[in-house]
């Protein structure tokens, strides 16, 4: 190996990048945040009920129900006997590190090699109270060349810190959906990490409607060339609600792809949506393609949307890289066009909002969810957009 090749190889291991936080399992490496830290500056710490500080995470105010297709297994395993860490997840913030320490068991969902199924594996996590805080750990493993869908639905009331690991083995195709349909008082902070194998495909879907504070950090790395990640997000932030999505796609292998599209609507006083889209293209990651996009539709006064795309490129040899971010109100021209055809204002607004989400819902393409998503958008609209008229 020549010195230069060696240097390049080492480059993979170490990257000086603000997009690439050093993780640590040691809680001492994660001091209690005060709110000025880059990764915490958008999050309302006061409303986290101590998840970020020292609140005990030993609560059991939740239950889990599973609905699995034949062949897929889902069981709770003691940490010592589990494959925890299989995705390469290393906590990058205090909540994640605390959840890691506090969990005594791991819920493992395993999709066997070459499994193919249209029926999704569904996990319901039902919160039963906010007084005690709880921690959880979910590990989803999609075996080689399998094709499957896993849906995690969160409902009820909870104060919940969680780590989620997703392992997509070589050649596998996994659609992984989280649906945050929490009650109004839920606080949920989750760190998700995905490892995408050679020629594997991950469609990662984050849908957030409910909760008081929902923050979801998702990172993805590639274990080999040819992997592909499509990250889709749909959210509706209501009055007083804080919904935060932070994404980090780490292009650690050549010929890999990432495509991120997050769309959200905001309505009501104090509705706050945050989207951080970080993409790092490492020196080794030649010939990759990446695109990330975030769009916010602001439906009423008093809302705030923060949207920050970051792209860091360490190699010149890429196929394509781009990002887009836009936050806007109703487009007057669209409304005028529809109304000039006789369509009443409320109906025109309804059409535009459904239209805003429709392409995304089509991309999500999980038939069992489609109707529910459209109905939820409709229900959210009824709160403000249609009522105001």
């Amino acid at each position: 190996m020549t010195a230069e090749v060696l240097e390049n190889a080492l480059e993979v291991e170490k990257v000086e990048s603000h997009l690439h936080p050093e993780g640590s399992f040691d809680l001492a490496d994660h001091p209690v945040p005060v709110g000025t830290e880059e990764i915490w500056r958008f999050t309302p710490l006061k409303r986290l009920r101590g998840l970020h500080a020292d609140a005990a995470l030993d609560g059991d105010a939740f239950k889990v129900e599973v609905d699995l297709p034949e062949g897929v297994t889902g069981t709770s395993v003691a940490v010592a006997d589990s494959a925890r860490g299989a995705s390469g997840l290393v906590p990058t913030d205090r909540v994640s590190a605390r959840a890691w320490d506090a969990t005594t068991s791991v819920f493992e969902v395993t999709i066997p090699e070459e499994f193919t199924g249209d029926q999704p594996a569904t996990l319901h996590l039902i919160g039963t109270g906010v007084e005690v805080a709880s921690a959880g750990h979910l590990l989803v493993r999609a075996g080689k060349f399998s094709r499957s869908t896993v849906v995690v639905e969160y409902t009820g009331s909870a104060t919940w810190a969680e780590n989620v690991e997703i392992v997509v083995e070589d050649g596998a195709d996994l659609t992984f959906v989280t649906l945050h349909d929490w009650a109004d008082d839920a606080v949920h902070l989750v760190s998700q990490h995905a490892r995408v194998g050679r020629d594997a495909t991950l469609k990662h879907v984050a849908i957030s409607f409910g909760g008081d504070v929902v923050r979801s950090d998702t990172s993805a790395e590639y274990a080999g060339p040819g992997g592909s990640v499509e990250a889709l997000g749909l959210y509706f932030a209501d009055e007083g609600q804080h919904i935060e999505h932070r994404l980090f796609v780490d292009h650690t292998a050549p010929k890999t792809k990432s495509h991120v599209v997050y769309k959200g609507a905001l309505q009501g006083e104090g509705a706050h949506a945050v989207w951080i889209g970080n993409v790092l293209i490492r020196k080794v990651a030649e010939g990759i393609e990446t695109y990330e996009e975030n769009r916010n539709l602001v439906l009423t006064d008093g809302c705030q949307a923060d949207s920050v795309p970051n792209l860091e490129i360490e190699t010149g040899e890429i196929e394509g890289a781009g990002h887009a971010s836009a936050t806007g109100r109703f487009d007057d021209e669209q409304l005028f066009y529809l109304r000039s055809r006789g369509i009443a204002e409320a109906e025109a607004r309804r059409l535009v909002v459904h239209g805003f989400f429709n392409d995304l819902i089509r991309k999500i393409d999980v038939p069992s969810l489609e109707e529910k998503l459209t109905a939820t958008v409709e229900a959210e609209l009824a709160k403000n957009v249609l009522k105001a008229l």
Partner: protein, 252 residues
């Protein structure tokens, strides 16, 4: 039966330097069965007139009146005007992402008629209207005007004209951006609409060529926010030969 009457219409828009008057007293009466052509140079205010009739929020009426069969149009909302029987084919039809053409057309038809069209005949009607303007039926599943070529957007306007069947149609440069075949197709659509009954048509155009296919009863030369001269079809011939120079210099 429909008469659109525009009397001494003054319209302004807000600009960085304050309000700017664009229409400076427009008078125009379109009786049923009549086709009026409005011709004028770029920037003379033709689209402003069209948008003001349709009620676009950007255009502010400062004085004058617009009535349809004696009823005050200016007091109506945009959608009420459409339901009262006015239709505007736009110079630049708007893209509406995520809303399919078929959903849009059905919603509009339901709004105009006050009841949903019969499902069985409706699909046939839509397909037939598209066929007549040589629009592939596949357009029904595409998003409204999204990615349509200029000509496709104009044909889509004509499809709407035929399906919604208003009393008075204002066509703002429906001919612009069309090749000769498309121009004929679009013109035939307008002529079919006219044959549907006692329809009023206000045809706004910059060029005379569409008047070869759609015969106007009256021609108005529009300059600097006003009607500078009116006449019969022969006025269009004069414009064809001599252009707008005579009217523009007269107005200055």
């Amino acid at each position: 039966m429909a008469t659109l009457e525009i009397k001494d219409l003054h319209v302004q828009v807000q600009t960085e330097d304050g309000p700017k008057e664009i229409l400076k007293g427009v008078n125009l009466t379109i009786k049923d069965g009549e086709t009026h052509a409005i011709m004028g140079p770029n920037g003379s205010g033709k689209s402003t007139l069209a948008y003001s009739i349709a009620g676009h929020p950007k255009y502010e009426v400062t004085s004058g009146s617009v009535t349809l069969d004696g009823v005050d149009v200016l007091a109506m909302t945009v959608d009420e005007r459409a339901r009262a029987g006015l239709f505007l084919a736009m110079q630049y039809p708007v893209e509406v992402p995520g809303v399919s053409v078929s959903n849009f057309l059905r919603t509009a038809k339901t709004a105009i008629d006050g009841e949903a069209p019969k499902l069985r005949t409706w699909v046939k009607d839509v397909n037939a209207a598209m066929d007549r303007v040589k629009m592939d039926n596949a357009f029904a599943t595409r998003n409204v005007n999204e990615g349509f070529s200029g000509g496709e957007k104009k044909r889509h306007e004509i499809v709407q004209l035929e399906l919604l069947d208003p009393k008075v149609a204002v066509l703002d440069e429906t001919d612009s951006g069309l090749d000769i075949d498309a121009l004929k197709i679009v013109s035939e659509g307008v002529n079919r609409f006219k044959e549907n009954g006692d329809k009023g048509v206000l045809l706004i155009t910059h060029y005379t060529r569409i008047l070869r296919y759609i015969k106007p009863d009256f021609v108005h030369v529009f300059v600097n926010g006003q009607v500078a001269e009116e006449g019969g079809p022969e006025l269009a011939d004069e414009l064809e030969a001599n252009g707008y120079d005579r009217f523009v210099s007269a107005a200055v």
